[in-house]
Symmetry: C3
Subunit: 464 residues, 3 copies
């Protein structure tokens, strides 16, 4: 007849809905695969930045440390890391640690009779396979672990560091994720829960604190504070290249942390994040550069590079819930935090070859705090946090008076990260030191690790 029956209507509408649902799933996958690849490219950035910043006689070794870090870290993440971080925390949730999906087991279900494999875990707005999350979060995990490699460069024993990197990627970092992004106890602490959009605290502070612990336990490189000019970076173009690669990769790190891309609001949030990231990076860079010029009366390109990274780390927690003016302020203050903490370490004669702790640790702290203090709902006494453009709701209206709780949650996150990764990394490094496994011998340090333990024995032979 000329009329539409309910059955026909329902069938066709369901088909269209499922098509949309499918498209949303495809979008999520495309977005996270590409953003994950960008984050992975940050390893190139770290490797170039750290290598360029160290002395030529250890260049091969620094390169190696970065490569070993990502390889070993990948296996750590696969074997244990994912399971601890995102595995099932039981019912009721223990809030501390996941205990399933080691080795990626359980990412698929296989139909026993037909042999058809079904990979997905779905929610109402689209499907994301576990593999997708595994891949995207893998890039974050190995990035966090690699931060430490800069702090301990040029004097740590390589096999020792490899073991530590495995430990970092398979246990230290994943547990912090289990508490926070994995939905553990920090997610609901002080009722509001912590807010760390892309990981100023979860990733960078974890790495930065561990780097600081490592560099303190190791002690400075021989002669570092007697002949500082011998410790200048040996290849500045690599440093700048590394900085640009990191900045580039950060557009996967921050915007990708929407963790999906299947509606317009998420798209607007990603754009907002990209804009804030850009502003804070530029502000941080130029601010440190000017500060250093005032102090040194010399141009310090390495300082400019670290300033950019300081800006990026500072905005990473709050990029989704602050206005662009606040992003400028966060980058500006972050630059001061970086410069002050860098000078403090110098004063305390703590030798951090690439300023890993000031950039990732101190600015990580500032970033987490800034995400609470500069939340854009503050002006009207609302808190937005994870809700992005919307406010944290109390029924149909915005909850008010959350400021104290929100800041409290941020402090809880900072304290927990410092305690957990500081204590574990500190213990690990200290135990290694006691057993003599931590630091290379004086002779090796003198002639350089490359000559002593590498084949070929030097990173460059430009004049052949």
């Amino acid at each position: 007849s000329g009329w539409v029956t309910q059955t026909e209507f329902n069938t066709k509408v369901a088909a269209l809905e499922s098509y949309d649902y499918n498209l949303g799933g495809a979008m999520d996958s495309a977005w996270l695969c590409l953003c994950g690849a960008l984050v992975m490219f940050m390893h190139a950035g770290f490797a170039m930045l750290e290598t360029g910043s160290c002395r030529v006689k250890n260049a091969s070794n620094v390169l190696m440390k970065n490569l070993v870090n990502v390889c070993v870290g990948t296996l750590g993440w696969w074997v244990f890391g994912w399971a601890f971080a995102y595995g099932d925390q039981g019912t009721p949730k223990n809030g501390f640690i996941g205990t399933s999906e080691f080795f990626g087991i359980g990412f698929y279900t296989t139909d026993a009779t037909t042999g058809v494999i079904t990979p997905s875990t779905c929610d109402s707005s689209g499907c994301q396979s576990k593999m997708l999350s595994w891949f995207f979060q893998w890039a974050f995990c190995t990035a966090g672990a690699t931060i430490v490699s800069g702090g301990v460069a040029e004097r740590v024993k390589s096999p020792t560091y490899a073991v530590y990197a495995f430990f970092m990627a398979s246990f230290i970092y994943p547990i912090i994720v289990a508490w926070s992004w994995g939905g553990g106890f920090l997610a609901t602490i002080t009722s509001v829960g912590y807010m760390d959009f892309a990981g100023s605290g979860v990733v960078h502070l974890t790495g930065g604190v561990s780097a600081l612990a490592g560099t303190i336990v190791l002690g400075p490189r021989k002669g570092r504070f007697e002949n500082p000019e011998e410790f200048e970076c040996h290849n500045l173009p690599l440093v700048v290249l590394g900085t640009f690669a990191l900045w580039f990769g950060w557009y996967g790190f921050n915007p990708g942390s929407t963790l999906g891309m299947h509606d317009g609001a998420t798209g607007a949030l990603a754009a907002q994040v990209a804009m804030n990231t850009t502003l804070s990076a530029a502000t941080g860079g130029i601010t440190v550069f000017l500060l250093r010029y005032l102090i040194l009366k010399k141009y310090d390109v390495g300082g400019l590079c670290n300033g950019i990274l300081a800006g990026l780390v500072s905005i990473t927690a709050g990029c989704g819930n602050v206005e662009c003016g606040s992003a400028f302020a966060i980058g500006l203050v972050g630059a001061f935090v970086y410069q002050a903490s860098s000078m403090l370490l110098q004063k305390l004669k703590i030798d951090d070859p690439v300023d890993a702790a000031p950039v990732h640790g101190f600015c990580g702290i500032w970033g987490v705090l800034a995400a609470g203090f500069l939340d854009w709902g503050k002006g009207v006494d609302h808190y937005h946090g994870w809700s992005g453009f919307g406010c944290v709701m109390d029924g149909a209206a915005c909850k008010t008076g959350l400021f104290g709780d929100a800041i409290g949650a941020q402090f809880a996150l900072i304290a927990m990260v410092i305690i957990w990764s500081g204590a574990l990394s500190g213990l690990a490094f200290f135990a290694l030191k006691m057993t003599g496994l931590l630091r290379i011998s004086e002779e090796v340090e003198e002639v350089g690790i490359d000559t002593k333990s590498h084949s070929p024995p030097k990173a460059y032979s430009l004049s052949q």
Copy 2:
């Protein structure tokens, strides 16, 4: 019996037919879902393409550094970093507002005057505190202002950084930083306001200019400014007496930079569809990617062969600049020419580059990285080529911004306008002239005024020993090898 059949009809209708209300609700919901997906697509596309364009800064930095002398390597790196950081602030404070802010009603056609500091990108509901990101919506989807800001930011700073190559190794660094801010916050945005921002060039001669991704708007602007800068500055000391001392000091960096730029260009050109929510846009992006590829490859190999014919030596730097010449040449017309034309555009672009590069040498104008031949002269050629090779020409139609379709008679009449090919080329010429006049005049005046006040050029001694050792900490870019740099200088400085 009639009665019975009517009762039956009614029963069926009530029981299992669909009411218009239900229908409309469902259809609207589905449309909303599609609309929302389209918005997500646009955001994903432009965020990622913008990131690729941003990576071009790595390319510029490596290319320019590698092309200069080792003694100024730190300084060239710094110039690129300062450029992007200062340029970002310039774009945020003034640039976006001048380029894409409201031009009033009726539009003044010349300059935007709202949204400085990104103010007005969100509206906040007074009572609930809910923030709504301001978006420009059309029938097909919404794009937030932040998205456009980010994507256009990458273009703005890329344009500004072109100049840094032309003035390298002799300009005073703080002076250049101020200029870069001026470039990113005023010179470039005004040209955008006239063109992409919907100003007067968009409708000039009725047909309007056509510059898909910015051969004119971005590259010519940068190239002309670089040319003026390099002329006013004068050549580096000894450049034409001892040319072999001015060869690039690190060729792998040059090649790496070229590949990074080529890679970034796949954000620059295909991303200039400015959206990605339907199949036709997708096909356009693919078309653009293909043309970009062909022109780059053709330009590279052509310059390489030309130089070999001239010098009987392989010139890898020339190959790299040839690739860039091909890329700049296709940037305006990548969306409205066939692939055979893309080949021709790259080929001619290579000749344009080589000829203008030799011309500058002849005129003893010292452009360290050939910024003005690559971006300026090939930029001119690119804008012209977009008019000359428009694929509607064979049938006397003009496609221009309409892409696969022809330019229609009017909004309501979709038949093709005919006989506008000449007018279209006229509009292209106007774009070229206006960019040269505006950017040339302003940059020229700026550089000249600075020269007069002695703020422009470093002193001779610094130029002799190198900026790195004089002004930088650490005093050299490399510490590779036993005796990497003249240490006596370091000690005497």
Copy 3:
């Protein structure tokens, strides 16, 4: 009266119910919108993945340059640049047509014969001049030919560039350029025509070959050709007498190149879904990304440990090649194996690489960057592994191209075929043999003919002093430090 009220009811119902016409129109419009969105997604995905693959050229260039000697650095850089530019033209003129052009009806299964020069990628309406990009459509969406051309271009030139590593430091540059054109326009496209292009290998032994992203089609083709080239050329002078002189001259470039390749592989493998318009494809891409990651890391650390066990020294270059070995090994099977298998494939791939690398050393075959162990031998292993580790094996089903599902009995019967595991491995072996025969024979003949005519290898003097100083302008890749290169040579040359 009752009758009247019924008429009235009916009238109202008529007004507020939905007619089938309206309904169908609306549903069709929504389907079109979805279909269009799907097309946009495909384009965005393949444009971006293609760009990532293109960036692998930066990786190859840096890796190969860093691995060679400083005196030939410019020349190696040039070879990579020439390769991509000449290869692009080869792909445009002939390659695409042979690979993906129409194979006739019925398909000849061996070679395509249409769409040279990209002719036929658009249809132009004679009267209106409106251009329609030609597209291949299926039930879920349309992809323009330009999109496929671009994505496959990146694969083609990547395959060709593999050879450049194997013949580095001793092949005559113009000769290599001609070979690269031949490779990109004929050798590689024919293999594609047999396989991805839907030729005879797609249905060989009924089950057909399985090579998701090209362990065989791309890497083995390149690796075999590199091996033939390096054998015919013979070793570099002094290679096995003074091996320490042949160590890589710039390790940071090698590592940078490795990371760039790994990064680009996320376009190479996940992009080989060749589309992205439904959730299952998305899950497949994620699966592929995860497997790629695991195999790369496993391969890298395994080779590193092996080499340390053998040499008691850290070998960073070995770690880099191990990563590449893992990547090449997983490329064929990344879509139809579990993550545990990906670990195993990377592990065994590392052993295959190390064993074949040592074998070549033993046989005194000098492959400067280990191109054939990495791409050739691991390519063979990758193709085999895709058959051996197929995740349907445990229940005697084969998944292959069907991804998560099993290979069905026929198009109409979706139950799983059983007992085809052995046949599938047979098909894999046929793919391997055919690639080796085709690429090996053609490359071998080409290199041998060139050798006979004296066009293949540079003269001894050039090899001694380096190609850069002899043939390049500038005559050296680096000018870092006071006395970077023996200037006497420069002057005597």
